[in-house]
């Protein structure tokens, strides 16, 4: 009984060392230890949820952002059959999403704009489904900068929003007609 207990503790000790090593290395997986040990730790870490980088609001907090899209309706000759529709995702644009049930859309938007392929292969086809009859959708990642603290303190009489700049980043389009895109993510 005592031997079995000791064996149990020895096995648990091995797991303790392995788990702590994994939790220390995974958030910095691109570093030396991560590169050299990834094949031993990632299958485990990715299965139990240790595959997170714990970088909340860092290295620098994000600016206000959203996706602007235009849905187009064209005939086979390229003539407009219907007025294009402009929209934003999340629909609140540069305001916060207050609805608790739709707050996850803000997170979905941030996920999509990280990689242009995600806009083209995930978000675009979804938009096509939201607008039946559309022939294509154009999407762009818009960032409204938060003016610096020094700027808002110096220019006290200006509204914070007036000091903000609108910048366009990734621009992608997806065709809503024809076969699905075979491009991998």
């Amino acid at each position: 009984m005592k031997k079995a207990r000791l064996l149990f503790k020895a096995l648990l000790s091995l797991w303790i060392v392995y788990n702590i090593f994994t939790m220390m290395v995974m958030p910095n997986i691109g570093a030396y230890f991560g590169r050299t040990t990834s094949k031993f730790i990632t299958p485990y870490a990715n299965s139990i949820g240790l595959n997170a980088s714990w970088n909340f609001f860092s290295p620098d907090p994000a600016h206000t952002m959203y996706i602007r899209y235009i849905v187009r309706y064209l005939d086979t000759e390229g003539n407009e059959t219907k007025e294009p529709v402009e929209g934003f995702f999340p629909a609140e644009k540069n305001k916060g999403v207050l609805s608790g049930t739709r707050k996850r859309e803000l997170y979905a938007m941030r996920f999509m704009v990280i990689d242009p392929k995600r806009l083209r292969l995930l978000f675009g086809p979804w938009l096509c489904r939201q607008y039946p009859g559309a022939t294509s959708v154009e999407m762009e990642h818009v960032v409204e900068t938060v003016p610096s603290l020094d700027q808002v303190v110096t220019l006290k009489d200006e509204a914070v929003q007036d000091l903000s700049q609108e910048l366009q980043f990734t621009r992608e389009s997806t065709s809503c007609v024809g076969g699905s895109d075979e491009e991998a993510l």
């Binding site: 503790k9 648990l12 139990i48 609001f57 620098d60 907090p61 916060g96 995930l122 979804w126 914070v160």
Partner: protein, 300 residues
């Protein structure tokens, strides 16, 4: 060598009081119950009509972060049933009814939903699931259980080896999370500059009210930003040292209360704070909280 083993044995396998763990269970499972009750109206996010089809659920994750398999073993058509089951299990666990297997089942379903659409996860989803995993190996329902109240139970088991190990592991885990959040901030120029917090508070997508009045008292921004970094980076050391533990935990409660109220991230705040019960002296919890409650209702 023998001394080292004794210290290791004492630290990891020494008996732990299960009361702190039970408080953590109530707050963590209660938070998840609330979060996922609300998510019942978002179940279309977890179907092929959403952004990510089931076939692409793994593909959308970066190579190094991609699991070998999906925990969501059920078809999307079962989502409503599985999600209701998850909410019921979390409700049951909040009340202290259940045990390791029920919590493990809750964890599998929870991770299944997290992996099914990785794009819509909150930080609270990820952290809560991780702690639910560790907790599923413990006797978390031994204390603060509705059954104890009904049966008027007065004697409680001590922690077994596995529970003791997992309590320690959760303490280590939360320290690692805080330390990394602090270290990651140190990579950012605006955190060094002291103005990062302004970018958060002036961003209407991140706050629940207008904070532009802070431009009239700008010195508050760097003070709170530097305090945030100090709190996070030094959390492991300060909670390990008994003399600074309570003040650091109190700072953490205030810090997360601010995040919860002013940034609308209450589930994240309560998830993080739930782990603090693992650091608080169980005798204090026993005397100040449980005894006071028991005088009115009976033992819990």
């Amino acid at each position: 060598m023998k001394k080292v083993w004794q210290k290791w044995d004492q630290f990891w396998f020494g008996p732990q009081n299960l009361l702190g763990l039970a408080f953590m269970r109530v707050l963590l499972c209660g938070t998840m119950f609330y979060m996922y009750l609300g998510r019942l109206s978002n179940l279309e996010y977890y179907t092929d009509n959403s952004w990510i089809s089931k076939a692409m659920a793994l593909e959308v994750m970066q190579d190094l972060y991609r699991p070998l398999f999906l925990w969501c073993f059920w078809p999307d058509s079962w989502n409503l049933f599985m999600h209701i089951l998850l909410v019921v299990l979390l409700g049951v666990l909040t009340l202290g009814l259940g045990g390791r297997w029920i919590m493990w089942l809750a964890w599998v379903i929870d991770v299944g939903f997290i992996q099914r659409n990785y794009a819509v996860n909150f930080g609270a989803d990820i952290i809560a699931a991780l702690f639910l995993f560790y907790m599923s190996f413990t006797q978390s329902c031994e204390r603060l259980s509705l059954l104890n109240l009904l049966r008027k139970r007065r004697d409680f088991k001590g922690a077994d080896t596995l529970s003791s190990v997992m309590i320690r592991m959760m303490q280590v885990q939360i320290c690692v999370i805080y330390a990394y959040t602090g270290w990651e901030k140190l990579k950012g120029g605006s955190w060094w500059d002291g103005t990062a917090l302004w970018s958060v508070m002036a961003n209407p997508q991140m706050t629940t009210m207008d904070f532009s009045f802070l431009r009239a008292i700008p010195w508050v921004i760097p003070v709170v930003a530097y305090l945030t970094i100090l709190f996070e980076v030094y959390f492991p050391v300060m909670v390990a040292w008994p003399k600074t533990r309570n003040i650091w935990l109190l700072m953490g409660v205030l810090f997360h209360a601010g995040i919860g109220i002013f940034m609308g991230l209450a589930p994240f705040a309560t998830t993080m704070v739930s782990t603090y019960f693992l650091f608080w002296d169980p005798r204090v919890l026993e005397q100040k909280v449980v005894s006071a409650f028991a005088r009115g209702t009976g033992p819990v």
